[in-house]
Symmetry: C2
Subunit: 220 residues, 2 copies
């Protein structure tokens, strides 16, 4: 107990630095400098660098998953156990996209940290990451209920592509802006979410629910 001040200062500084520069080039000395704390404090409070990273990841992982599941559950309850596929997908990719894109000042360090963690596979995180599969299975379940005629394989691929578009867009947002000479506005987060959800919905419904070809706006 006592003064958690140092502890949380380290957590905040580490998360910020890791989110910005990745795990590779952030040293413990960088972290303690950013936190205005002595070098030995990290080992004193967390045991080791890896345990610090692990704690950061576990905490954020739980929070992100809770947020996504909250949206999902609300949608399913409102639909009497079956939510529209667009809404499910929105619950899956919305929180992360909103946290990582948009105007600079309102991006969450937490979301950016999680994206880093999903890219750079550092040992302490890799060990924990398997649990994420259980989390994704809950979305698979919801998608099955939403699209009972769809094969499992198609569901898995749809989920995979939805995450692909969301994560890749975040990671390569700078390149997309440059390539499109600013024509693709990544600050308009809701537009990005709508595009991702729309395409993923098409991937999941094409060739089955014919004629309905959901428009991009329908996913808003």
């Amino acid at each position: 107990m006592a003064s958690d001040h140092t502890r949380s200062a380290i957590l905040a500084a580490a998360e910020r630095l890791y989110a910005d520069r990745g795990f590779g080039d952030v040293t413990m000395r960088d972290i303690v400098a950013e936190a205005n704390v002595n070098l030995a404090a990290v080992n004193y409070h967390f045991g080791s660098k890896d345990e610090l990273i692990a704690e950061l990841f576990v905490t954020r992982s739980i929070a992100t998953n809770r947020e996504r599941l909250h949206e999902l559950k609300a949608a399913e309850e409102q639909g009497g156990g079956r939510a529209p596929i667009e809404v499910i997908l929105r619950a899956l990719v919305g929180p992360t996209l909103r946290g990582c894109l948009g105007p600079e000042n309102q991006r969450s360090t937490a979301a950016r940290f999680m994206i880093r963690a999903s890219i750079e596979s550092v040992p302490p995180i890799r060990r924990i990451k398997n649990r994420e599969i259980d989390h994704l299975r809950k979305f698979v379940g919801a998608m099955r209920r939403s699209l009972p005629d769809r094969s499992d394989v198609d569901i898995y691929w749809g989920l995979n592509f939805a995450l692909a578009m969301a994560h890749h867009t975040i990671r390569e947002s700078e390149r997309l802006t440059k390539l499109s000479e600013g024509k693709c506005d990544l600050d308009d987060v809701e537009d990005v979410v709508a595009r991702v959800v729309s395409v993923a919905t098409m991937a999941l419904t094409a060739g089955r629910t014919e004629t309905k070809a959901p428009s991009r706006l329908a996913a808003r």
Copy 2:
């Protein structure tokens, strides 16, 4: 001149190790051990570790781009200047997917190295990477010619999503296999290519060329 043997042994070993384990945890000592070569050889032949990485990346970058452009050019010539969008997308994502997926023994180290390079952003590569945008612009041009009614913004997003699905599927192939309990067969590369191309095509044509809703098999 003289014996390039050492030089190329280093290149091969480095590419293999980087492809497998990433830039982060491969040291020069790992490389020279794998190449059966003295530690000082890397600095003697390449100047520095960074220059070795840069040479590796430039070489592979040129080769990959040439392969993709070759497919693209052939398609456009056959179509009298306008290739079907499916074929353009196939030229974009096919080579990489084929190189990185499929049965273990026929995956190319080159392709896997390039994926590593596109994920882990290490300084020597970051400096070079900007040129890739020029390469992508050629695909944007072909896509514009193929879909003249489509807005530039939609073209850029379609390209972005196509690359997203291809790269993410490669990076997270293990997770997808585990999540789907083997139901998604990532060794069937042509099926994966067809799925990616199909979804990207839908993203690029939906709401415009109505009724045609291209089926997954149509993209084969």
